[in-house]
Amino acid sequence: MRCAECLLRIHDHAEECPHCGMSLERLKPSYEGIRLEINDGVHDVAGALGKASRKQLGAAVLECESQFVGVNVAISFIALRDEQTVETYGFWLLNSSKFLHGRMEQPELVDGHGRVILSIDVEGKSAGLSYGYYFDGYVSERENFDVLSAGHASLLEGDLVAGCEQILDALRGLLKRAVLRARKGARR
Protein backbone atom coordinates (compact mmCIF):
# COMPACT_ATOMS: atom_id res chain seq x y z
CA MET A 1 0.00 0.00 0.00
CA ARG A 2 1.17 3.52 -0.77
CA CYS A 3 0.43 6.88 0.72
CA ALA A 4 -1.51 9.08 -1.72
CA GLU A 5 0.63 12.10 -0.87
CA CYS A 6 4.25 10.94 -0.55
CA LEU A 7 3.68 7.71 -2.55
CA LEU A 8 5.81 5.71 -0.12
CA ARG A 9 4.82 2.31 1.15
CA ILE A 10 2.75 2.19 4.33
CA HIS A 11 1.24 -0.50 6.51
CA ASP A 12 -2.23 -1.90 5.76
CA HIS A 13 -3.65 -0.59 9.02
CA ALA A 14 -1.73 2.73 9.28
CA GLU A 15 -3.98 5.43 10.72
CA GLU A 16 -1.81 8.03 9.09
CA CYS A 17 1.23 7.94 6.83
CA PRO A 18 4.35 7.31 8.94
CA HIS A 19 6.41 9.28 6.39
CA CYS A 20 4.32 12.42 5.77
CA GLY A 21 1.51 12.09 8.31
CA MET A 22 -1.22 12.27 5.65
CA SER A 23 -4.77 11.16 6.49
CA LEU A 24 -8.21 11.88 5.06
CA GLU A 25 -8.88 14.36 7.84
CA ARG A 26 -5.75 16.34 6.96
CA LEU A 27 -6.78 16.60 3.31
CA LYS A 28 -10.25 18.00 3.99
CA PRO A 29 -9.31 21.72 4.16
CA SER A 30 -7.48 21.47 0.87
CA TYR A 31 -10.54 20.18 -1.06
CA GLU A 32 -13.35 21.90 0.79
CA GLY A 33 -16.09 23.41 -1.35
CA ILE A 34 -15.93 20.89 -4.19
CA ARG A 35 -19.28 19.38 -5.17
CA LEU A 36 -19.56 15.84 -3.76
CA GLU A 37 -22.44 14.30 -5.74
CA ILE A 38 -21.41 12.11 -8.65
CA ASN A 39 -24.37 11.58 -10.98
CA ASP A 40 -24.34 8.60 -13.32
CA GLY A 41 -20.60 8.15 -13.10
CA VAL A 42 -19.41 11.54 -14.38
CA HIS A 43 -18.16 14.29 -12.04
CA ASP A 44 -17.21 17.34 -14.07
CA VAL A 45 -16.37 20.12 -11.66
CA ALA A 46 -13.87 21.62 -14.13
CA GLY A 47 -16.59 22.10 -16.76
CA ALA A 48 -14.45 20.30 -19.32
CA LEU A 49 -17.31 18.45 -21.05
CA GLY A 50 -20.29 19.48 -23.14
CA LYS A 51 -23.70 17.97 -22.59
CA ALA A 52 -23.33 15.38 -25.36
CA SER A 53 -19.83 14.37 -24.25
CA ARG A 54 -21.04 14.00 -20.69
CA LYS A 55 -23.89 11.77 -21.82
CA GLN A 56 -21.53 9.70 -23.96
CA LEU A 57 -19.10 9.20 -21.10
CA GLY A 58 -21.93 8.40 -18.69
CA ALA A 59 -23.04 5.60 -21.03
CA ALA A 60 -19.46 4.28 -21.26
CA VAL A 61 -19.17 4.25 -17.46
CA LEU A 62 -22.48 2.40 -17.09
CA GLU A 63 -21.41 -0.16 -19.69
CA CYS A 64 -18.14 -0.68 -17.84
CA GLU A 65 -19.96 -1.15 -14.54
CA SER A 66 -22.68 -3.39 -15.94
CA GLN A 67 -20.56 -6.54 -15.81
CA PHE A 68 -19.58 -6.13 -12.18
CA VAL A 69 -21.65 -6.59 -9.08
CA GLY A 70 -20.72 -4.27 -6.23
CA VAL A 71 -18.34 -2.18 -8.31
CA ASN A 72 -19.00 1.50 -9.04
CA VAL A 73 -16.94 3.51 -11.47
CA ALA A 74 -16.74 7.28 -11.85
CA ILE A 75 -14.71 9.80 -13.82
CA SER A 76 -13.89 13.15 -12.31
CA PHE A 77 -12.58 16.20 -14.20
CA ILE A 78 -11.01 18.88 -12.07
CA ALA A 79 -8.59 21.77 -12.39
CA LEU A 80 -6.18 21.32 -9.47
CA ARG A 81 -4.19 24.00 -7.75
CA ASP A 82 -0.41 23.81 -7.27
CA GLU A 83 -0.42 22.15 -3.84
CA GLN A 84 -3.00 19.57 -4.93
CA THR A 85 -2.17 16.34 -6.77
CA VAL A 86 -4.33 13.97 -8.74
CA GLU A 87 -3.44 11.17 -6.27
CA THR A 88 -4.60 13.03 -3.16
CA TYR A 89 -7.65 14.34 -4.99
CA GLY A 90 -8.63 10.81 -6.03
CA PHE A 91 -8.10 9.58 -2.46
CA TRP A 92 -10.24 12.37 -1.03
CA LEU A 93 -13.02 12.06 -3.62
CA LEU A 94 -13.17 8.28 -3.24
CA ASN A 95 -13.99 8.66 0.44
CA SER A 96 -16.00 11.89 0.44
CA SER A 97 -18.23 11.70 -2.63
CA LYS A 98 -21.76 10.43 -2.95
CA PHE A 99 -22.27 8.09 -5.88
CA LEU A 100 -25.75 8.70 -7.26
CA HIS A 101 -27.06 6.37 -9.94
CA GLY A 102 -30.42 6.25 -11.66
CA ARG A 103 -32.90 9.01 -12.42
CA MET A 104 -32.17 12.44 -11.06
CA GLU A 105 -35.59 12.70 -9.35
CA GLN A 106 -35.03 9.59 -7.27
CA PRO A 107 -31.29 9.13 -7.01
CA GLU A 108 -30.00 5.97 -5.39
CA LEU A 109 -27.01 6.32 -3.11
CA VAL A 110 -24.35 3.73 -3.83
CA ASP A 111 -22.19 2.76 -0.93
CA GLY A 112 -19.39 0.21 -0.65
CA HIS A 113 -15.78 -0.70 -1.03
CA GLY A 114 -15.95 -1.41 -4.74
CA ARG A 115 -15.51 2.19 -5.86
CA VAL A 116 -13.12 3.08 -8.65
CA ILE A 117 -12.46 6.71 -9.64
CA LEU A 118 -10.53 7.96 -12.64
CA SER A 119 -9.38 11.50 -11.80
CA ILE A 120 -8.26 13.81 -14.56
CA ASP A 121 -6.60 17.13 -13.86
CA VAL A 122 -7.44 19.21 -16.91
CA GLU A 123 -5.07 22.02 -15.88
CA GLY A 124 -2.03 20.01 -14.78
CA LYS A 125 -2.68 17.40 -17.50
CA SER A 126 -2.37 14.29 -15.39
CA ALA A 127 -4.59 11.31 -14.66
CA GLY A 128 -4.73 8.74 -11.89
CA LEU A 129 -6.89 5.91 -10.54
CA SER A 130 -8.18 5.39 -7.01
CA TYR A 131 -9.63 2.08 -5.80
CA GLY A 132 -11.83 1.01 -2.93
CA TYR A 133 -10.62 -1.48 -0.33
CA TYR A 134 -12.01 -4.41 -2.36
CA PHE A 135 -9.10 -4.09 -4.76
CA ASP A 136 -6.31 -3.87 -2.19
CA GLY A 137 -3.61 -6.21 -3.36
CA TYR A 138 -5.49 -7.38 -6.49
CA VAL A 139 -4.17 -4.74 -8.90
CA SER A 140 -0.49 -4.05 -9.48
CA GLU A 141 1.33 -0.80 -10.20
CA ARG A 142 2.24 -2.03 -13.65
CA GLU A 143 -1.38 -2.87 -14.48
CA ASN A 144 -2.54 0.55 -13.29
CA PHE A 145 0.05 2.20 -15.43
CA ASP A 146 -0.99 0.12 -18.47
CA VAL A 147 -4.65 1.05 -18.00
CA LEU A 148 -3.85 4.76 -17.87
CA SER A 149 -1.46 4.42 -20.82
CA ALA A 150 -4.33 3.12 -22.97
CA GLY A 151 -5.75 6.65 -23.19
CA HIS A 152 -2.48 8.56 -23.20
CA ALA A 153 -2.37 9.32 -26.93
CA SER A 154 -5.93 10.68 -27.04
CA LEU A 155 -5.41 12.70 -23.87
CA LEU A 156 -2.25 14.19 -25.38
CA GLU A 157 -4.33 15.29 -28.38
CA GLY A 158 -6.85 16.89 -26.03
CA ASP A 159 -9.61 14.38 -26.80
CA LEU A 160 -10.81 13.76 -23.25
CA VAL A 161 -13.82 11.63 -24.19
CA ALA A 162 -11.87 9.23 -26.42
CA GLY A 163 -9.06 9.02 -23.85
CA CYS A 164 -11.48 8.21 -21.05
CA GLU A 165 -13.30 5.61 -23.14
CA GLN A 166 -10.01 3.88 -23.93
CA ILE A 167 -9.02 3.91 -20.27
CA LEU A 168 -12.44 2.53 -19.27
CA ASP A 169 -12.06 -0.26 -21.80
CA ALA A 170 -8.69 -1.24 -20.36
CA LEU A 171 -10.02 -0.81 -16.83
CA ARG A 172 -12.76 -3.32 -17.52
CA GLY A 173 -10.16 -5.96 -18.34
CA LEU A 174 -8.20 -5.12 -15.21
CA LEU A 175 -11.27 -5.30 -13.00
CA LYS A 176 -12.18 -8.71 -14.42
CA ARG A 177 -8.73 -9.97 -13.60
CA ALA A 178 -8.91 -8.43 -10.14
CA VAL A 179 -12.25 -10.11 -9.40
CA LEU A 180 -10.96 -13.48 -10.62
CA ARG A 181 -7.85 -13.08 -8.47
CA ALA A 182 -9.99 -12.19 -5.46
CA ARG A 183 -12.06 -15.32 -6.06
CA LYS A 184 -8.90 -17.38 -6.13
CA GLY A 185 -7.58 -15.47 -3.11
CA ALA A 186 -4.36 -14.60 -4.92
CA ARG A 187 -3.24 -11.14 -3.88
CA ARG A 188 -0.54 -9.28 -5.80
Partner: protein, 319 residues
Protein backbone atom coordinates in the same frame (compact mmCIF):
# COMPACT_ATOMS: atom_id res chain seq x y z
CA UNK B 1 -51.01 -116.70 -69.51
CA UNK B 2 -51.92 -115.56 -72.98
CA UNK B 3 -49.39 -113.84 -75.18
CA UNK B 4 -51.42 -110.57 -75.49
CA UNK B 5 -51.58 -110.28 -71.74
CA UNK B 6 -47.80 -110.71 -71.50
CA UNK B 7 -47.22 -108.05 -74.19
CA UNK B 8 -49.57 -105.58 -72.46
CA UNK B 9 -47.90 -106.24 -69.09
CA UNK B 10 -44.44 -105.67 -70.56
CA UNK B 11 -45.65 -102.43 -72.23
CA UNK B 12 -47.06 -101.16 -68.95
CA UNK B 13 -43.83 -102.01 -67.17
CA UNK B 14 -41.82 -100.01 -69.72
CA UNK B 15 -44.17 -97.07 -69.40
CA UNK B 16 -43.84 -97.14 -65.63
CA UNK B 17 -40.08 -97.19 -65.90
CA UNK B 18 -40.16 -94.29 -68.35
CA UNK B 19 -42.38 -92.16 -66.09
CA UNK B 20 -40.28 -92.81 -63.04
CA UNK B 21 -37.11 -91.94 -64.95
CA UNK B 22 -38.77 -88.76 -66.23
CA UNK B 23 -39.78 -87.67 -62.77
CA UNK B 24 -36.27 -88.36 -61.48
CA UNK B 25 -34.82 -86.21 -64.29
CA UNK B 26 -37.08 -83.34 -63.29
CA UNK B 27 -36.11 -83.77 -59.69
CA UNK B 28 -32.44 -83.75 -60.54
CA UNK B 29 -32.26 -80.98 -63.11
CA UNK B 30 -35.37 -78.80 -62.74
CA UNK B 31 -36.39 -76.33 -60.03
CA UNK B 32 -37.14 -79.21 -57.70
CA UNK B 33 -33.62 -80.42 -58.27
CA UNK B 34 -32.22 -77.06 -57.27
CA UNK B 35 -34.39 -77.01 -54.16
CA UNK B 36 -33.20 -80.50 -53.23
CA UNK B 37 -29.58 -79.50 -53.82
CA UNK B 38 -30.06 -76.46 -51.63
CA UNK B 39 -31.64 -78.58 -48.93
CA UNK B 40 -28.80 -81.09 -49.04
CA UNK B 41 -26.20 -78.32 -48.89
CA UNK B 42 -27.91 -76.64 -45.95
CA UNK B 43 -28.06 -79.96 -44.15
CA UNK B 44 -24.37 -80.46 -44.73
CA UNK B 45 -23.84 -77.16 -42.85
CA UNK B 46 -20.71 -76.23 -44.78
CA UNK B 47 -18.65 -73.25 -43.52
CA UNK B 48 -18.97 -69.92 -45.37
CA UNK B 49 -15.33 -69.74 -46.43
CA UNK B 50 -15.73 -72.90 -48.42
CA UNK B 51 -17.98 -71.13 -50.94
CA UNK B 52 -15.45 -68.37 -51.72
CA UNK B 53 -16.10 -67.11 -55.25
CA UNK B 54 -18.42 -69.99 -56.09
CA UNK B 55 -21.06 -69.41 -58.74
CA UNK B 56 -24.55 -68.37 -57.93
CA UNK B 57 -25.87 -71.42 -59.76
CA UNK B 58 -29.47 -70.31 -59.71
CA UNK B 59 -28.69 -66.96 -61.39
CA UNK B 60 -26.33 -68.71 -63.74
CA UNK B 61 -28.98 -71.13 -64.87
CA UNK B 62 -31.53 -68.36 -65.34
CA UNK B 63 -29.27 -65.94 -67.21
CA UNK B 64 -27.02 -68.26 -68.99
CA UNK B 65 -27.30 -67.92 -72.75
CA UNK B 66 -25.23 -66.99 -75.67
CA UNK B 67 -24.71 -63.36 -76.67
CA UNK B 68 -25.93 -64.15 -80.13
CA UNK B 69 -26.95 -62.02 -83.09
CA UNK B 70 -29.85 -60.44 -81.30
CA UNK B 71 -27.66 -59.10 -78.47
CA UNK B 72 -24.53 -58.53 -80.53
CA UNK B 73 -26.23 -55.59 -82.24
CA UNK B 74 -27.07 -54.07 -78.88
CA UNK B 75 -23.62 -54.60 -77.39
CA UNK B 76 -21.16 -53.99 -80.19
CA UNK B 77 -22.88 -52.18 -83.04
CA UNK B 78 -24.38 -49.16 -81.33
CA UNK B 79 -22.76 -46.49 -79.23
CA UNK B 80 -24.70 -46.47 -75.95
CA UNK B 81 -26.03 -43.15 -74.75
CA UNK B 82 -24.73 -42.38 -71.27
CA UNK B 83 -21.91 -44.90 -71.62
CA UNK B 84 -23.76 -47.78 -69.94
CA UNK B 85 -24.95 -50.66 -72.09
CA UNK B 86 -27.28 -53.06 -70.33
CA UNK B 87 -29.75 -54.39 -72.93
CA UNK B 88 -30.58 -57.43 -70.80
CA UNK B 89 -31.53 -55.13 -67.93
CA UNK B 90 -29.37 -56.98 -65.46
CA UNK B 91 -29.11 -53.87 -63.29
CA UNK B 92 -31.97 -52.19 -61.52
CA UNK B 93 -32.78 -48.52 -62.03
CA UNK B 94 -30.91 -47.27 -58.99
CA UNK B 95 -27.75 -49.17 -59.86
CA UNK B 96 -27.95 -47.98 -63.45
CA UNK B 97 -28.25 -44.37 -62.32
CA UNK B 98 -25.29 -44.71 -59.99
CA UNK B 99 -23.12 -46.17 -62.72
CA UNK B 100 -24.21 -43.56 -65.25
CA UNK B 101 -23.27 -40.89 -62.74
CA UNK B 102 -19.75 -42.33 -62.38
CA UNK B 103 -19.39 -42.64 -66.14
CA UNK B 104 -20.65 -39.07 -66.68
CA UNK B 105 -18.18 -37.82 -64.10
CA UNK B 106 -15.40 -39.67 -65.91
CA UNK B 107 -16.41 -38.37 -69.33
CA UNK B 108 -16.49 -34.81 -68.04
CA UNK B 109 -12.83 -34.95 -67.04
CA UNK B 110 -11.45 -37.34 -69.59
CA UNK B 111 -10.69 -37.23 -73.30
CA UNK B 112 -11.36 -40.98 -73.43
CA UNK B 113 -15.07 -41.64 -72.87
CA UNK B 114 -15.97 -44.76 -70.93
CA UNK B 115 -18.39 -47.39 -72.26
CA UNK B 116 -19.45 -50.24 -70.00
CA UNK B 117 -21.19 -53.32 -71.44
CA UNK B 118 -22.86 -55.39 -68.74
CA UNK B 119 -23.22 -59.13 -69.37
CA UNK B 120 -24.48 -61.88 -67.11
CA UNK B 121 -22.02 -64.08 -65.33
CA UNK B 122 -20.83 -66.91 -67.57
CA UNK B 123 -22.35 -65.63 -70.80
CA UNK B 124 -20.51 -66.36 -74.01
CA UNK B 125 -20.12 -64.08 -76.99
CA UNK B 126 -20.99 -65.77 -80.26
CA UNK B 127 -18.20 -64.13 -82.25
CA UNK B 128 -14.45 -64.30 -81.73
CA UNK B 129 -12.28 -61.42 -80.48
CA UNK B 130 -11.12 -60.19 -83.86
CA UNK B 131 -14.74 -59.92 -84.99
CA UNK B 132 -15.61 -57.97 -81.82
CA UNK B 133 -12.74 -55.60 -82.55
CA UNK B 134 -13.98 -55.18 -86.09
CA UNK B 135 -17.44 -54.27 -84.85
CA UNK B 136 -16.06 -51.82 -82.29
CA UNK B 137 -13.75 -50.19 -84.85
CA UNK B 138 -16.75 -49.36 -86.98
CA UNK B 139 -18.66 -47.89 -84.05
CA UNK B 140 -15.76 -45.89 -82.59
CA UNK B 141 -14.11 -44.93 -85.82
CA UNK B 142 -12.11 -41.71 -85.36
CA UNK B 143 -12.80 -41.55 -81.64
CA UNK B 144 -11.13 -42.40 -78.36
CA UNK B 145 -12.91 -44.87 -76.11
CA UNK B 146 -12.47 -47.15 -73.14
CA UNK B 147 -14.74 -50.15 -73.71
CA UNK B 148 -15.35 -52.47 -70.79
CA UNK B 149 -17.04 -55.84 -71.00
CA UNK B 150 -18.13 -56.67 -67.49
CA UNK B 151 -19.70 -59.91 -66.32
CA UNK B 152 -22.01 -59.05 -63.45
CA UNK B 153 -20.86 -60.81 -60.29
CA UNK B 154 -17.42 -61.64 -61.69
CA UNK B 155 -15.18 -58.59 -61.59
CA UNK B 156 -12.05 -60.60 -62.28
CA UNK B 157 -13.50 -61.70 -65.62
CA UNK B 158 -13.84 -58.10 -66.83
CA UNK B 159 -11.91 -57.25 -69.95
CA UNK B 160 -12.10 -54.65 -72.64
CA UNK B 161 -10.40 -52.45 -75.19
CA UNK B 162 -8.67 -49.10 -75.28
CA UNK B 163 -9.41 -47.48 -78.63
CA UNK B 164 -7.30 -44.52 -79.65
CA UNK B 165 -8.03 -42.33 -82.59
CA UNK B 166 -5.26 -42.70 -85.11
CA UNK B 167 -3.73 -45.74 -83.48
CA UNK B 168 -6.62 -48.18 -83.23
CA UNK B 169 -6.54 -50.67 -80.36
CA UNK B 170 -3.88 -50.15 -77.75
CA UNK B 171 -2.22 -53.46 -76.97
CA UNK B 172 -0.16 -52.73 -73.94
CA UNK B 173 0.70 -54.34 -70.62
CA UNK B 174 -0.62 -51.18 -68.97
CA UNK B 175 -4.08 -51.91 -70.37
CA UNK B 176 -4.05 -55.39 -68.83
CA UNK B 177 -2.76 -53.87 -65.61
CA UNK B 178 -5.59 -51.35 -65.64
CA UNK B 179 -8.24 -54.07 -65.83
CA UNK B 180 -6.46 -56.33 -63.38
CA UNK B 181 -5.93 -53.72 -60.66
CA UNK B 182 -9.48 -52.39 -60.98
CA UNK B 183 -10.83 -55.93 -60.73
CA UNK B 184 -8.68 -56.65 -57.68
CA UNK B 185 -10.00 -53.60 -55.88
CA UNK B 186 -13.58 -54.32 -56.89
CA UNK B 187 -13.45 -57.94 -55.76
CA UNK B 188 -12.99 -56.72 -52.19
CA UNK B 189 -16.61 -55.55 -52.27
CA UNK B 190 -19.46 -57.72 -51.09
CA UNK B 191 -22.37 -57.93 -53.52
CA UNK B 192 -22.31 -57.84 -57.28
CA UNK B 193 -23.79 -54.35 -57.56
CA UNK B 194 -21.23 -52.85 -55.20
CA UNK B 195 -18.59 -54.77 -57.12
CA UNK B 196 -19.45 -53.29 -60.53
CA UNK B 197 -19.73 -49.80 -59.07
CA UNK B 198 -16.34 -50.16 -57.44
CA UNK B 199 -14.85 -51.59 -60.63
CA UNK B 200 -16.07 -48.72 -62.81
CA UNK B 201 -14.97 -46.12 -60.23
CA UNK B 202 -11.50 -47.64 -59.88
CA UNK B 203 -11.21 -48.11 -63.62
CA UNK B 204 -12.11 -44.47 -64.18
CA UNK B 205 -9.52 -43.30 -61.65
CA UNK B 206 -6.74 -45.51 -62.95
CA UNK B 207 -7.44 -44.78 -66.59
CA UNK B 208 -6.23 -41.19 -66.15
CA UNK B 209 -2.66 -42.38 -65.82
CA UNK B 210 -2.99 -44.32 -69.05
CA UNK B 211 -4.63 -41.35 -70.71
CA UNK B 212 -1.79 -39.06 -69.61
CA UNK B 213 0.62 -41.30 -71.42
CA UNK B 214 -1.45 -41.99 -74.52
CA UNK B 215 -3.33 -38.83 -75.34
CA UNK B 216 -0.69 -36.13 -74.89
CA UNK B 217 1.78 -37.39 -77.51
CA UNK B 218 -1.00 -37.97 -80.02
CA UNK B 219 -2.35 -34.49 -79.52
CA UNK B 220 1.09 -32.97 -79.80
CA UNK B 221 1.70 -34.91 -82.97
CA UNK B 222 -1.54 -33.80 -84.48
CA UNK B 223 -1.38 -30.29 -83.01
CA UNK B 224 -4.88 -30.64 -81.70
CA UNK B 225 -5.88 -28.39 -78.87
CA UNK B 226 -8.64 -29.51 -76.61
CA UNK B 227 -10.92 -26.73 -75.56
CA UNK B 228 -13.16 -27.67 -72.74
CA UNK B 229 -16.64 -26.40 -72.79
CA UNK B 230 -16.81 -23.54 -70.28
CA UNK B 231 -20.17 -24.61 -68.91
CA UNK B 232 -19.07 -28.19 -68.27
CA UNK B 233 -15.89 -26.87 -66.65
CA UNK B 234 -17.93 -24.74 -64.29
CA UNK B 235 -20.20 -27.68 -63.57
CA UNK B 236 -17.18 -29.85 -62.90
CA UNK B 237 -15.79 -27.36 -60.41
CA UNK B 238 -19.13 -27.14 -58.65
CA UNK B 239 -19.41 -30.93 -58.48
CA UNK B 240 -15.85 -31.12 -57.18
CA UNK B 241 -16.60 -28.49 -54.56
CA UNK B 242 -19.80 -30.22 -53.47
CA UNK B 243 -18.08 -33.58 -53.23
CA UNK B 244 -15.29 -31.95 -51.20
CA UNK B 245 -17.88 -30.59 -48.80
CA UNK B 246 -19.60 -33.97 -48.69
CA UNK B 247 -16.33 -35.78 -47.97
CA UNK B 248 -15.41 -33.40 -45.17
CA UNK B 249 -18.88 -32.78 -43.79
CA UNK B 250 -18.02 -34.19 -40.36
CA UNK B 251 -14.88 -32.08 -40.06
CA UNK B 252 -16.82 -29.03 -41.22
CA UNK B 253 -19.54 -29.70 -38.70
CA UNK B 254 -16.98 -30.06 -35.90
CA UNK B 255 -15.16 -26.92 -37.01
CA UNK B 256 -18.40 -24.90 -37.06
CA UNK B 257 -19.41 -26.35 -33.71
CA UNK B 258 -16.08 -25.35 -32.11
CA UNK B 259 -16.34 -21.92 -33.76
CA UNK B 260 -19.84 -21.50 -32.38
CA UNK B 261 -18.74 -22.50 -28.88
CA UNK B 262 -15.73 -20.16 -29.07
CA UNK B 263 -17.95 -17.29 -30.31
CA UNK B 264 -20.49 -17.92 -27.61
CA UNK B 265 -17.75 -18.05 -24.95
CA UNK B 266 -16.26 -14.80 -26.23
CA UNK B 267 -19.63 -13.02 -26.14
CA UNK B 268 -20.43 -14.48 -22.74
CA UNK B 269 -17.12 -13.44 -21.18
CA UNK B 270 -17.07 -9.97 -22.74
CA UNK B 271 -20.75 -9.02 -22.63
CA UNK B 272 -22.94 -11.21 -20.50
CA UNK B 273 -20.79 -12.64 -17.72
CA UNK B 274 -21.33 -11.02 -14.35
CA UNK B 275 -18.29 -10.63 -12.13
CA UNK B 276 -19.11 -10.66 -8.43
CA UNK B 277 -16.47 -9.48 -6.03
CA UNK B 278 -16.24 -12.00 -3.17
CA UNK B 279 -16.04 -10.96 0.46
CA UNK B 280 -12.45 -10.02 1.17
CA UNK B 281 -10.68 -8.86 4.29
CA UNK B 282 -10.69 -5.10 4.48
CA UNK B 283 -8.00 -3.18 6.32
CA UNK B 284 -8.99 0.46 6.77
CA UNK B 285 -6.21 3.04 6.90
CA UNK B 286 -5.54 6.77 6.96
CA UNK B 287 -9.08 7.45 8.17
CA UNK B 288 -10.53 6.49 4.80
CA UNK B 289 -14.01 4.92 4.76
CA UNK B 290 -14.10 3.39 1.27
CA UNK B 291 -10.54 2.94 0.11
CA UNK B 292 -6.97 4.24 0.16
CA UNK B 293 -5.48 2.57 -2.86
CA UNK B 294 -4.18 5.00 -5.48
CA UNK B 295 -2.27 4.47 -8.68
CA UNK B 296 0.68 6.45 -9.93
CA UNK B 297 -0.50 9.24 -12.17
CA UNK B 298 0.45 9.67 -15.80
CA UNK B 299 1.40 12.99 -17.32
CA UNK B 300 -0.08 14.00 -20.64
CA UNK B 301 1.06 17.64 -20.66
CA UNK B 302 3.98 17.17 -23.03
CA UNK B 303 4.38 14.63 -25.87
CA UNK B 304 8.14 14.65 -25.23
CA UNK B 305 7.61 12.96 -21.87
CA UNK B 306 7.26 9.39 -23.03
CA UNK B 307 5.37 6.69 -21.19
CA UNK B 308 8.48 4.57 -20.85
CA UNK B 309 10.29 7.48 -19.14
CA UNK B 310 7.37 7.90 -16.80
CA UNK B 311 7.35 4.21 -15.93
CA UNK B 312 11.10 4.22 -15.35
CA UNK B 313 10.62 7.13 -12.97
CA UNK B 314 7.94 5.19 -11.05
CA UNK B 315 10.12 2.10 -10.83
CA UNK B 316 13.13 4.03 -9.58
CA UNK B 317 11.19 6.14 -7.11
CA UNK B 318 12.07 4.11 -4.08
CA UNK B 319 15.63 3.30 -5.05
Amino acid sequence: MSRPFIIVALFMAFLQAGFSQGSRTQELYGKKGLAITEQILSELNLPEWLWGDALDYETLEKNYRLVDDELLDSYFQTMPAGGLNDPQELLDRVQREKLEEVIASHDMKSAMPLYVNVLAYGQKIAVNESEVKGLLSEVFHGKNALVVIYYLGHARGAHGYVILDGQGFVEDWEVDELFLRSAQDASLQVGKHEEILSFVTEFSKRSFWLEQRLITPVMAEKDVSVQEDEASKQHGKLTEFLSLIHDHSLSLFLFLFVLLIAGWYYLWSTRWRKYVMPDVDIAMRQGAKYGANVSDSIDFSDPKISLSDQYEKIKNREL
